[in-house]
Symmetry: C2
Subunit: 514 residues, 2 copies
Amino acid sequence: MRRGRGRRQDRQTAEIIEFQNPAPGGLEGGSYRPLTRADIERIVGAAYDVLARTGVEVMPSPCRDLFERAGCRIDSSINRVFIPANVIDEARTHLRHEVLLAGRDPAHDLELSGRRVYLGTGGQAVKIMDLDDTVRETVLADNFHIGRLVDTLHHVHFYMRPVVCRDLETPDIDINQLYACLAATKKHVMSNAYLPERVADIREVGNMVAGGADTFDARPPVSLTACWTVSPLRYAMETVEILDEIIEHGIPVVTSSAPQAGATSPASLAGTLVQITAEQLSGLTYVNLKKPGYPLIMGCVPAQADLRTGAFTGGSAEFALLNAACAQIAQYLKMPVYNSSGIADAKIGDAQAGFEKGMTTAAAALAGSNYVHHSAGFLESLLAVAYEQYVIDNDINGAIMRLARGIEVSDATLAVDVIHDVCTGPNHFLGHPDTLARMKEEYLYPEVFDRASRDDWEAAGEKDIREIAKLHARQVLENHWPVAIDPSVDKELRARFDILLPETAMRPGGWPGP
Amino acid sequence: MRRGRGRRQDRQTAEIIEFQNPAPGGLEGGSYRPLTRADIERIVGAAYDVLARTGVEVMPSPCRDLFERAGCRIDSSINRVFIPANVIDEARTHLRHEVLLAGRDPAHDLELSGRRVYLGTGGQAVKIMDLDDTVRETVLADNFHIGRLVDTLHHVHFYMRPVVCRDLETPDIDINQLYACLAATKKHVMSNAYLPERVADIREVGNMVAGGADTFDARPPVSLTACWTVSPLRYAMETVEILDEIIEHGIPVVTSSAPQAGATSPASLAGTLVQITAEQLSGLTYVNLKKPGYPLIMGCVPAQADLRTGAFTGGSAEFALLNAACAQIAQYLKMPVYNSSGIADAKIGDAQAGFEKGMTTAAAALAGSNYVHHSAGFLESLLAVAYEQYVIDNDINGAIMRLARGIEVSDATLAVDVIHDVCTGPNHFLGHPDTLARMKEEYLYPEVFDRASRDDWEAAGEKDIREIAKLHARQVLENHWPVAIDPSVDKELRARFDILLPETAMRPGGWPGP
């Protein structure tokens, strides 16, 4: 194989190629089908059986009363609700098949449905690795600074609140974590609520930053997750209370269940899929009983326990399979899906991390998952994030989106005449007009990944991509200060709520480094 | 999400889990279909059109005479052979749909057909990175030492001669590179021939090491590649001569064509697929005209030029798409396929390398490619290999094979009763007999990839996976000295041929390090 390395040409053409995204969020995946149609039907059928026979554990509550009124049998002695097929089927007739999660810039809208793919951040890291590799507890301000970085990354399509505010008391967290995200980027923000009494405020904050009018029904700028089950098949009553409030306030919601195969669900992958499908069917039944046609997203967060140790594992093939399969099941149920990728078990952004992220994100995206969270920034099996990892994952996600876009086959792309021209004339493909025309639309160019020759790479300091990504992240963190909330609205917000992120942290010089 | 980390348990169970491969080579991929059936038909149809209208360039030769006798029109003024559909169709009736490449241990047999997947090394690196990160020219002995390492790696299913012997003169290379590989492992060895007059010797060496009798027709222990075209659509007459000799001697062969989209084939991915399909159809026509039913493998090595620089690029989504699509086209033609993955553009084994390898290997394996070469060891866009990279890629390949295996759906795996047991009884899934029974068959455990807690990882020296892989590689290179050629046969070989690998290099202490 021959290759050429034109350094001078590199510099010249780099200047004329401004960013143009040949693989934007929202394109359709679906070319990867780990389950057959018959497999999916058996899994869903088994989930129905589980709900009718094994049921879900629900303590006495308005939730349980609602299930009972809908025709479910309750066994109070063991607090289990048995959901018959007809109740689930009735709820499914009301399912909303498409859910819009709006960006405050419409370019960032997420139209969740079918096999459309969006990749973004995920939540609940408790540690962050600073650019000097120090690992420390996460704080409120991290949600703002990571958000500024994500604001610049083309292949991170939404911003789910990434880290836990370990410096705040619970009553302060809900509004402050939301504010920190909204202040950093106009991409869609997903967060969560720790307290039911904060849910109304969350809607209010969303409306304020989105321009003042109540836009939630048409263009919700904020959505929430509710981890309303504890696997296997047990309702977490405190979170059900929050879910009730969310539904009351019409905020799009993800009902998230997170079984770990081998620990909190069967070790067989198919069995874990049955259980998560049962959990999700019970959730969609409940939400649609409460408010038919509710903007609900199926929150599948299957993971795996390493059965040698019991440790949570997110970088495995089995994890990738579970998440891809959930996308197929959601498509079968005609429901938007939220799942995971990019969970590296590696502690730093090394080859293992790059691989684990690539495999899991490829599986989710190619299967046509709609809202793939965790797909930027994570390390250490969901415990930690790192700035440079967001930059690395941006290039990973871009390539995966290009992979998901696939191959266009048309008379023009078949290029029979181009081949004839070049073979029978003096032309070379590199100089052919067809090549120049396709340069930007057919190919995605990475933002930090390195394609230089070894000589050029050595001359640039022989840097591991992690070092390059750190330099990139530092550059952004020092210089990119978006004003994603209008200053007058910001003033109102600070008057109305106890906003703890200091204004000084939101201006040049506000990043503490290192 | 909760997780537990039982360190003591880790050590205990590690001892009782000996290696058992839940995802061996030869399992079926095919759940990823980037092309629709209609797309494939259009591409193959366009390739037929190209062969009839544009044709292939073939200089006057017995090859061209054979095409002419078969009914192809020749234009001598431009040295082009135009191959009509009926000639291709006739050749396709003779195609061998399954090709066995034998290991000298039957456990390593490769049964290439349909969607069966095998991953292994690839050829022609000109540089190697030693364990001290020094990059130097490759030499004969590297083929032996890399082979010893590959001999220990469960997820590298075959051994294709990995590096060019830059220390040898051409007449010495063919037999010596083959010997170095065969001496290192009983996995199937694929190599190449630089000189037509060495092909008979290659068959002889293969027979000698396989036990003496002529086993090529039943169990060929050696196969060859022949890069008989220079894209676009030009026959390389020196290599055609070698191909003729190979066919004469009945050695299984890969006809390999390697267009670079945008440089030596159209920039459109579909157009590159048309061209490579045309090149391959001309090759299968030629080989089956010479010897109907020949053990031939479709050698698709599509790649991409980075159109900003013209540089060869192998770590991109576009590359992954091209290779997956070639597998589909081969399956449509009912022909075993050889293609590529694992070509990192990264210069060292960093996160970029891990990602590039994972994405491209996942695409090829999930599409059901039969013989995926380059999928271990490579860096620097095919220019270099590194010892530790083989170790890293072994874990990557294992995970990808597990991914390709997919999800078994059966009454047992649906686990409806297991879910019922755990939800209604005192059981936890971790202690359930079903979980223990599935621990080894459902899950693949990585060999070097790290799933330890951060504390344990820090206590072990905070090592990047590349460092861990280097330690592993060093351990193997110092201690694993397989005797893959019977000593008496080795003596005969050294008497019969000018074997240049010194016997001292093949015993403990024979690895020069570092």
